[in-house]
């Protein structure tokens, strides 16, 4: 899966309804909560095998299932030039056959044992995960090890998946109004470094150009145990899990050391603008993005609070002004690493972005003036205690929603990200402290530097004139 809105494999949101044959999804859209200290610490065991594989185990017997995730430290930022979209195409290859599991057999094994699975490609990792009955934990540790050990891909399988991925781009981008807007467009405008500024879904011709040699080289370079983390969370005995992990992963050889590449971005010093015409779109739209502070800094934690205050939730300042008061749009969406991830699961330069689809009766500049007013207020006045408390509560709520979900996909994602990027999966238990340390003064200071108009990029989207009947532009 690449875009959040579509599923590649039988996703959790889709499968239960289809399989249980129940009516419409009556899913509550909630961001739930909790008070500090109300939730017991998440158990975290952390090991590293001799071949460099990181292993995180989190024991939880609330349901008889296990969630297994393997995250490789290769995202679309680092795909080769001339091969846009390759990291994602490669993700599909991981389901096309390994030594002991032929094409479609990995998926078949998960499904036939009563599990669901998915994979996704993001800025700094590619992940593969399955939720399975806990009595099949060994089966899937074996299966994940099998495909880390080596792939067995034919030209037919590659060609097949090139067709699938091109259809993925068509259904999510080329044949949709607002296709790729703004999530593919903003990084291309805001960033300077090719790694951050190319089309991550891929040019169709470059997807077609991929060869089996490319697949082989990419696998050898990036899919080694020393560039990966295995997370096993759920109804398991950690000692047993370590024994299985040693048994199946232990003999996979350490790969060559991976030289770090320069993915840095220069400090932006002038506002960037792009006017996009979307012949398929019936209404204008507006999107913006600001570069966020570097990870691990106090300003970064303040930026997460700015995100919560400004755009995350129906009580956010932008919702209250742009939606409730001015009525420009039915909603405004955005966030850090939005919509492909969250504030935790990336490792490099990142954007805080937002967007809305609005009526043609409102000019883009009129809306931007209101955005500016909200930003200026945050740069001028200190956030009040009540609003700050609410933002902290929302942050805890979002965290507890991830940690409390019985399918544990959010938990596995946090553990994997913190192991891969920070070497510290236990950080999952200190996130509340990181948030609570932020002061109103730090929020204002951060807003002054990072919500500068010269640190932002703006895309205005306009529908084509009424008489233009041509199909949408390519991405």
């Amino acid at each position: 899966m690449f875009n959040k809105n579509r599923w590649k494999f039988t996703g959790l949101l889709v499968a239960p309804l289809v399989a249980l044959a129940l009516p419409q999804a009556v899913q509550s859209k909630e961001t739930a909560p909790a008070t500090a200290g109300a939730v017991a610490a998440v158990p975290v065991e952390y090991h590293t095998l001799e071949n460099g594989l990181k292993v995180v185990i989190s024991e939880d017997h609330s349901l008889p299932t296990t969630t297994i995730g393997v995250y490789y430290g290769i995202g679309f930022r680092l795909e080769p030039q001339g091969r846009t979209g390759f990291a994602h195409l490669f993700e599909h290859m991981m389901f096309q056959g390994s030594k002991n599991l032929g094409k479609a057999e990995f998926i078949g094994l998960v499904n036939a044992n009563g599990g669901v699975l998915n994979g996704s490609t993001r800025f700094d990792f590619t992940n593969y995960f399955e939720v399975v009955p806990s009595n099949t934990t060994e089966t899937f540790i074996w299966a994940e090890a099998d495909r880390m050990r080596g792939l067995d891909i034919t030209q037919d399988n590659l060609s097949n998946q090139q067709g699938v991925v091109k259809n993925e781009v068509k259904v999510n981008v080329l044949n949709q109004p607002y296709g790729g807007f703004p999530w593919l467009d903003l990084p291309q405008l805001a960033n300077e470094n090719w790694s951050n500024a190319h089309n991550f879904y891929g040019d169709l011709a470059e997807l077609d150009a991929a060869t089996l040699e490319d697949v082989d080289a990419f696998f050898k370079k990036y899919y080694a145990p020393n560039n990966a983390v295995l997370v096993v969370a759920g109804d398991v005995d950690p000692t047993q899990v370590m024994a299985w992990t040693e048994k199946y992963f232990g003999s996979i050889p350490h790969g060559p050391a991976i030289e770090p590449e320069d993915i840095s971005e220069p400090r932006q010093t002038a506002e960037k603008r792009l006017a996009k015409t979307d012949p398929l779109a019936p209404q204008p739209a507006l999107a913006w993005a600001y570069h966020v502070p570097p990870k691990g800094t106090p300003e970064w934690a303040a930026m997460r609070l700015i995100d919560l205050i400004m755009i995350d939730g129906r009580d956010s300042r932008l919702t209250k002004l742009l939606v409730n008061e001015k009525g420009y749009a039915g909603g405004v969406q955005g966030g850090i690493n939005w919509p492909l991830g969250n504030e935790y699961n990336y490792n490099g330069p990142m954007l805080w972005s937002g967007f809305l689809i609005h009526g043609a009766e409102h000019d883009h500049e009129e809306i931007l003036a209101d955005l500016d007013a909200v930003v200026t207020d945050l740069q001028t006045n200190l956030v009040g205690e009540e609003e700050l408390d609410r933002a902290r509560t929302k942050a805890r709520a979002a965290l507890y929603n991830m940690l409390g979900d019985g399918n544990r996909i959010g938990l596995v994602d946090l553990l994997a990200s913190f192991a891969l990027f920070d070497g510290n999966p236990g950080r999952v238990n200190s996130l509340e402290q990181e948030i609570s340390a932020v002061t109103p003064e730090l929020i204002r200071k951060t807003a002054r530097e990072y919500l500068r108009s010269t640190n932002r990029s703006i895309i205005t989207l306009s529908p084509a004139p009424k008489d233009a009947g041509e199909q949408g532009e390519g991405e």
Partner: protein, 466 residues
């Protein structure tokens, strides 16, 4: 409160049977076999009614101190009559102000409790929901009750809400999936609210505040409402809050009954999308099955309902025609249908339809293999556990079951029924429910290149519209 019933849904052990996966090559290593299955215990469900007919279900659940509160009201587009989306307009207006609080104030109150409050209007029900810290459960019940019972309907919000819906309408009508689904529904449910997906712009522009108020007054009431509270909360305090907040609500009408029987209206609908790189397909028909029919659900899963399904393996993993195909059974209160969705590369439109038809015929002609049947059983039972692994999942599943009249006891017998499936059940479900002569086909794509392909598909060639 009357009719206190306590329903314990426990000790239903889900056995995850092992499955030997056949391996083609002799030198391959077999996957380690599963160990003994672990038991899964369903949450305990307590249900009761208030004197005014409001249904309540309480479910202690979960390990974090959070609670999900969901109110399902049996109204929605089913009550629109000729005024398509009047229910949607009403639902949006209810959220703009209630109990003297503006939308922003409601949002702040909910966020202070660690959640948000929203209301969505569907075909058969309007669902208000929130998720908050468990200690605020009683307060959140009150907030939610105000939204349903005491909307303020401020005049000055009407035009904003109308503009929002008009934008949503125009965006939907620019999306190939929405265009295809609208056409498909109109064939399957003629002269029924299920078949009227979208209003005209003029219609939407004409609704008055009085109509909105009247819709709310006529359709929202205690008797149509079922409240679910799932999570960790103080039961006594929540019961008291429910009695205080909802106890005086008028009984209101019983849910609308507007049954629509399948009438075998088959059609081929072509909608031109010039230059589109894909064709968007809706292939399906009405099905006359009881709610919660396990045989049809199992057959659908194998045919197109999960990633390892036959249609997905065929048109995606073998042919590469598409990315996200999928089939499903839409079980609505007044009628049901089966549909296969796919967005296929335009050049393969005819070939994709041919393969889908081929898979339906195969399902009707022969029983699936024992391994396929066992795999589906395991999958359905596994998904059963996964779908009940969150507060929202539990609340949503229970609301869906109650709406269909199945009730939570459906969960008790589910695994037993699934485990009893035979290969013949799959074949019979396909024969009985998916006769090809009754199939409707909707194709939204570039007709200048697609029409010629469709003329080559025997099942469609004589039925193509001009």
């Amino acid at each position: 409160m009357k009719n206190l019933k306590k329903l314990a849904l426990c000790a239903s052990a889900v056995a995850f049977a092992s499955l030997a996966v056949p391996l083609a090559a002799q030198d391959r290593e077999a996957p380690p076999a599963p160990s003994e299955a672990r038991p899964f215990t369903l949450p305990e469900v307590t249900s009761y009614e208030l004197p005014n007919g409001l249904h309540v279900t309480l479910v202690p659940y979960g390990k974090t101190p959070q609670v999900s509160i969901l109110a399902s009201v049996r109204t929605g587009n089913i009550d629109d009559g000729a005024d398509i989306w009047l229910s949607d307009l009403t639902g949006s207006m209810m959220q703009k102000s209630a109990g003297g609080r503006t939308a922003s104030e409601i949002a702040e109150a909910a966020a202070s409790m660690g959640g948000s409050l929203s209301l969505g209007v569907g075909l058969d029900s309007a669902t208000a929901s929130t998720g908050v810290l468990g200690e605020y459960a009683a307060d959140a019940v009150k907030l939610l009750a105000d939204l349903l019972i005491n909307p303020d309907f401020p005049e000055d919000e009407l035009e904003k809400v109308r503009s929002d819906l008009a934008r949503n309408l125009s965006v939907a009508k620019s999306q190939p999936g929405a265009i295809a689904s609208e056409a498909f529904s109109s064939v399957l449910y003629p002269d029924h609210p299920y078949g009227h997906a979208y209003p005209t712009e003029e219609q939407l522009a004409g609704y008055s505040l009085d109509q909105v108020k009247a819709f709310h007054a006529a359709n929202f009431g205690a008797q149509r409402t079922h409240l679910y509270v799932v999570g960790r909360f103080d039961e006594a305090a929540v019961r008291q809050s429910i009695a205080d907040s909802f106890g005086d609500w008028a009984e209101g009408p019983a849910p609308t009954q507007l049954p629509t029987a399948p009438d075998d209206a088959a059609a081929v609908v072509l909608i031109d999308r010039p230059g589109a790189p894909q064709s968007t397909l809706r292939i399906g028909q009405r099905v006359d099955i009881p709610a919660g029919d396990i045989e049809m659900a199992a057959m659908n899963t194998l045919l197109g309902g999960y990633f390892s399904s036959r249609i997905t393996r065929n048109i995606r993993e073998d042919k590469g025609y598409t990315y996200s195909p999928g089939s499903g059974i839409a079980q609505r209160v007044q009628g049901k249908h089966w549909v296969q969705n796919a967005d296929v590369t335009a050049e393969a439109t005819g070939a994709s339809i041919t393969e889908i038809i081929k898979e339906i015929r195969r399902m009707q002609a022969e029983d699936p293999s024992a391994a396929e049947v066992q795999g589906i059983k395991n999958y359905m039972n596994g998904i059963f556990v996964i779908s009940l692994a969150s507060r929202g999942g539990v609340a949503g599943q229970l609301a869906g079951l109650d709406q269909l009249g199945l009730g939570p006891q459906f969960l008790n017998s589910y695994v037993t029924k699934v485990s009893a499936l035979s290969g013949e059940d799959f074949r019979e479900a396909a024969v009985n429910n998916l006769p090809l002569e009754d199939m409707t086909y909707v194709i939204v794509g570039p007709l200048d290149s697609v029409r010629a392909q469709l003329e080559e598909v025997p099942e469609l060639s004589g039925k193509l519209p001009d």
